[in-house]
Symmetry: C2
């Protein structure tokens, strides 16, 4: 579309301008934005980010302006180009893994190399013999072969044992035959498989001498190295458009009696001895157990930043957007319209999410630190480390489920808080939300995971019950068992927590509720003999309660940690403390029923929390909201949002993108229903991607 006529270019938004409003917001808070940013991310990480951002902004291949106008095919081809350029930059600048991850985060969209760079390389590194490292891992690390990790099938996701693809050992020629016996055996949802990969790690049921030995990993070439066409007896392709994640080529894969050599089976842990044709048992899987804990802890950490992106956009826009005069203000006083962020109904939706971004960040960081400390200890005291790993694993399951759900659903709340304009693609929230949603399903479906948490808590509760709450014979001694023991000792005397007055007591109330729900579930299971299935809803509630306790606890500890007092000035620490209290009491209020049925607090306390304390905390956070989102250091280039602009120039940006960048304005419709002509004029130029 031709650029706007001069008389339109001359128009300004009605005053006050967004830039004035955001400056005023920043002026009225004394939160130290850069200090807080360094505390969250470290100065080193911020510098790294700035350095890389600079490179990306200069390169037209990363220009996001056209992204929301592209169809799926055009978008994924653009993503392929970006993936290639990212790799080229990594080679050119000798990027570390951290730098590669930082660059990917900044680009902010999945690309067809995503699963090659993660699961494919990790699996080859961790499960290869030295020979296989040379043969597969080293070439993959150099991107000479491109791969993916093919586990999920059309008919089986969470239930890995149910996978149907078979890998049968042929003693006669010492090969394996990979085969898909049914349609539901088709590998499905496999990232980087649909279009990009020429190799795949395939999880298949190993069959030796007629015995099924469960899923094992096989490295299989699936496409020709020159033509990139599928190999014979391999059927592979892209599974089609999705609600989001459309820049990734999730794929399908079927085998028809495909023979692969003995070396294809990744043999570090389990293998078939070609001399004896015997299957040799795997070593303990605790290594993978650890890896999953690590992956989930990172999801928790990321959840804070993912949500913060939506909160930053919504908070800035709601500070710029003004609507209606204050009802109670005398008609005489014409102070113009009220900033939407001043309405308690908007604060109630956005500010607890603002608090949650920090809560999740600190919880994720704590998880990762505990995991690293534990890995370090493993050498010394293996057994205690194993106990603690079990606890960490359960906690990481609970936090992954809770954190990613909170972030995903929170983003939609942010989008709606932006009113009508939140629905525009230029708001920059909708697509971000849609791309994030898979996180609620992968690395353990958020509902499935809660069963593992419950299983662990019930096990610990049984031990505590047996021990009569005493130290001896003591079950594994960790935070979880401590809160269970504490509850068990005081179960008859009950509790009385000053949840409104004492920060420590709020944390204790969350712990009490977890312990109460655990022993209640234990009674249903062990005494009432209820089926596991009948208890799944209780287990889900229990896991959520456990996750909420952990997040509240970690947030409390982060706010009160000496390093926080050292790193931050008083006003900034004070703002964090207010956020902690808001997060804790808002969460308590939403779970009210469980809190007083468990006796963790009284009906009166709930009433006060909801009608007074939480409202007071919202008012206390309000003046710092814009600076607190600034502390996440999102660059406008990253947010790619008209509503979330740092300078608040929302309306001009929305108008520019709609009128001057929108290709639909390069065509003219024929509106007459009786005319079979659709377009009277079409001046579109195709938006091609190139490198």
């Amino acid at each position: 579309m031709p650029s706007n006529p001069d008389w339109v270019k001359a128009l300004r938004p009605a005053g006050p301008q967004g830039s004035e409003l955001l400056s005023a917001e920043r002026a009225k808070s004394d939160v130290n934005v850069d200090g807080l940013a360094e505390h969250l991310f470290t100065a080193e990480a911020l510098a790294r980010k700035a350095r890389i951002l600079d490179l990306l902004k200069k390169d037209p291949v990363f220009d996001k302006a056209q992204d929301c106008f592209r169809g799926r095919e055009s978008r994924i081809v653009a993503a392929l180009a970006r993936g290639k350029r990212l790799r080229q930059l990594a080679v050119q600048h000798g990027w570390t893994t951290d730098e590669e991850y930082a660059a990917n985060d900044l680009v902010g969209e999945p690309n067809p190399y995503g699963l090659h760079a993660s699961m494919f390389l990790v699996t080859l590194r961790e499960q290869s013999t030295p020979e296989q490292r040379r043969l597969f891992y080293e070439r993959a690390a150099r991107y000479e072969i491109i791969g993916c990790y093919a586990q999920t099938e059309l008919g089986h996701g969470s239930n890995v044992r149910g996978l149907e693809t078979t890998a049968t050992w042929n003693p006669e020629d010492q090969t394996f035959t990979l085969h898909s016996p049914t349609l539901t055996a088709a590998k499905w949802w496999i990232g980087s498989l649909g279009k990009a990969a020429n190799h795949a790690v395939v999880m298949a049921q190993l069959c030796v001498g007629g015995r099924r030995l469960g899923p094992h990993p096989f490295v299989v070439q699936i496409r020709d190295m020159q033509t990139h066409e599928p190999l014979p007896n391999v059927h592979v392709g892209d599974i089609g458009p999705k609600f989001g994640y459309n820049t990734m080529d999730n794929g399908f894969l079927l085998f028809r009696h495909l023979k692969v050599p003995h070396v294809s089976m990744l043999a570090r842990f389990a293998y078939v001895d070609p001399a004896t044709n015997k299957y040799v048992r795997p070593a303990s899987a605790s290594l993978l157990y650890g890896t999953m804990t690590w992956v989930r802890s990172n999801i928790v950490l990321q959840a804070g930043g993912v949500l913060a992106r939506g909160v930053a956009i919504a908070v800035r826009y709601c500070a710029v957007r003004r609507q209606f005069q204050d009802q109670d203000r005398p008609a005489a006083d014409d102070a113009g319209e009220t900033q939407v962020l001043d309405y308690t109904m908007v604060q109630q939706r956005l500010l607890p999410l603002l608090a949650a971004t920090f809560a999740l960040h600190f919880a994720g960081r704590a998880m990762i630190e505990q995991y690293q400390a534990n890995q370090a200890e493993q050498a010394k005291q293996a057994e205690q480390a194993a106990d603690r790993l079990a606890d960490l694993h359960a906690t990481s399951c609970a936090l992954k489920a809770y954190g990613s759900t909170l972030a995903g659903e929170g983003l939609e709340v942010c989008r709606r808080a932006c009113g009508g304009h939140g629905y525009s693609a230029f708001a920059g929230i909708g697509a971000w939300y849609a791309d994030y949603l898979p996180t609620l399903t992968w690395e353990g479906d958020n509902y499935m995971l809660t069963q593992q948490v419950a299983r662990y808590l019930l096990k610990q509760a049984r031990a505590v019950q047996l021990a009569g709450g005493d130290a001896a014979p003591s079950p594994a001694d960790n935070d979880t068992t401590r809160i269970l023991k504490d509850f068990w000792r005081r179960r008859d005397m009950g509790a009385a927590f000053d949840v409104l007055g004492s920060e420590q007591d709020v944390v204790a109330a969350f712990a009490w509720r977890v312990a109460f729900l655990t022993f209640e579930a234990l009674r249903h299971r062990d005494e009432d003999r209820q089926t596991w299935n009948a208890l799944l809803v209780d287990f889900w509630r229990l896991s959520t309660a456990h996750a909420q306790y952990m997040v509240v606890k970690h947030f409390y500890e982060a706010v009160h940690a000496p390093r926080t007092a050292q790193a931050l000035d008083a006003p900034t620490v004070a703002a964090l403390r207010t956020l902690f209290r808001l997060h804790a009491l808002h969460t308590l209020e939403t779970g009210a029923a469980e809190f007083f049925t468990s006796g963790a607090c009284t009906v009166r306390q709930i009433q006060l929390a909801r009608t007074r304390t939480v409202m007071d905390l919202l008012a206390a956070v309000r003046p710092h909201a814009v600076r607190l989102v600034d502390a996440w250091h999102f660059d406008d280039w990253t947010l790619a949002s008209s509503l979330g602009r740092y300078d608040g120039d929302v309306y001009t940006d929305l108008f520019h993108r709609a009128s001057e960048l929108n290709p639909l304005n390069d065509v003219v419709f024929d509106p007459r229903p009786d005319s079979s002509v659709l377009l009277k004029r079409d001046d579109r130029r195709p938006i091609a991607s190139k490198l």
Copy 2:
């Protein structure tokens, strides 16, 4: 992509097949599917639907197979073609308005004629003088002119009084000058404006003799009738892609001192007298008041069907999808994997939504019947009718906000209940959800509306308080005042409802909670003198509680109405009653805190509801789930969902669409990062739309 090789075509899903599983589901329930469908929609409406569906299926322009592969531009052009064909069919078959609506529902996507056929025509019909009817309405009804309704602006949505566009009366030449003084004055979000309309009803601030007289409607030509290019001093276009609704050309519009004749101002209610240059005051706006009530009541009715579409897909898929063996089953007994719908965690998410679809349907129908009855009475007893309309209006606000939120959020729950495959575009839920979301914002933002509900309830409560709860001096006598009076009388003695045992008592408990919250809010406002803004969150809770009461009450009455007993056999009525109890108790459980802080029930009742009664009701609904969704009579063509297929052949359909219809499989990537080639091969044929 070439069709699948024969060895792939020969593959079947692992047994049992989806068709067998769904047949078994239908066999084990005695719910009368067609009887229930007739009861919900009437035999006449079902016949009409079948007749029209038959026409649409035959016409390739309505073929949905390619929809989810199209980019935004391609989709809206296809929607334009469909809009034209729908109009042609309407003319050819002499469709009634009901038939036109039915056809639009079946096509199931917005199109660029949407706002012409609704708001543009309705406004012209209701607000025109006889001369204007001839000049505008009649030509618009014949589609000789295509129009839209331009109210919302870039800077103002909910606050209509704040609109910036001006229409200034020029006595010298008896014209109006339409002008956009700022960028935020740009009309924005206007459906059918972006590409289709050549006329618009523009809401502008009327200025006469230097006085601003508020927003008034003007009919303005904006594009040339031959070239369809914008007229001079008019800047108009499409506002760009959105989270959904991309088959609609929501547009922007700016005026630069555009002169329009006196006849342009729709003058049925208010006008400028050209002889005297005087502004003549409008008659009562109660007509529009009534229209909004009508529109919102329909949103409530539709919300049931909108949600039912997602529930139907999810329930059928969860009956076909099997995963994991039952934990408590002896390893010996190998009954294969469990249907996902048998897991209580899935039932807890889906079955209350299944109940909600019927609840919303009956509530919407009741609203519409009350509205019609009231309109009929208006002639006779104007005053009582006005009172009742005020009550209906408040109720319609509460129900619109609650119903559309429940439906919108419920659809996302359905999508997630489908696990990984729910994320595929072929699931058919994601796009449906994204297209529905605007309903939560338009016709009154769901949060804004709750203020109107609260204002009405507080007014009634004041009157009841004044009257000391007695009949005299009585405030308007209607259901709302009755529950307020009842509570006021018993406020000290309190209540004791058998919410678990008596269906009537559950309804009474919901009423008690509404009254409690109303008088609590009244105290905060009148005695504690809290600001309106400070109470917005309480008002939102109050409005939601009121809506939940109305829905539960209407559902109860619908289930126990004589016409229901006459129309349906005992097993079907029994199933509806179970759904009613599930809906009521599940809603009670989610609002637990308010129910016992209000004394509507005890903590013990809540505990029993959540741990026992609701679980028992889920088990009671489970066997009828598939037949109950069948009763909504969705055709596979309408659902356009692999997962929701009536025959349960989920996996074959998913695979066919992904592998054989997916245009991304017509290209071959070059995966080498160091190669600047992106596509090695590209066999795509463009998917053009024509009529």
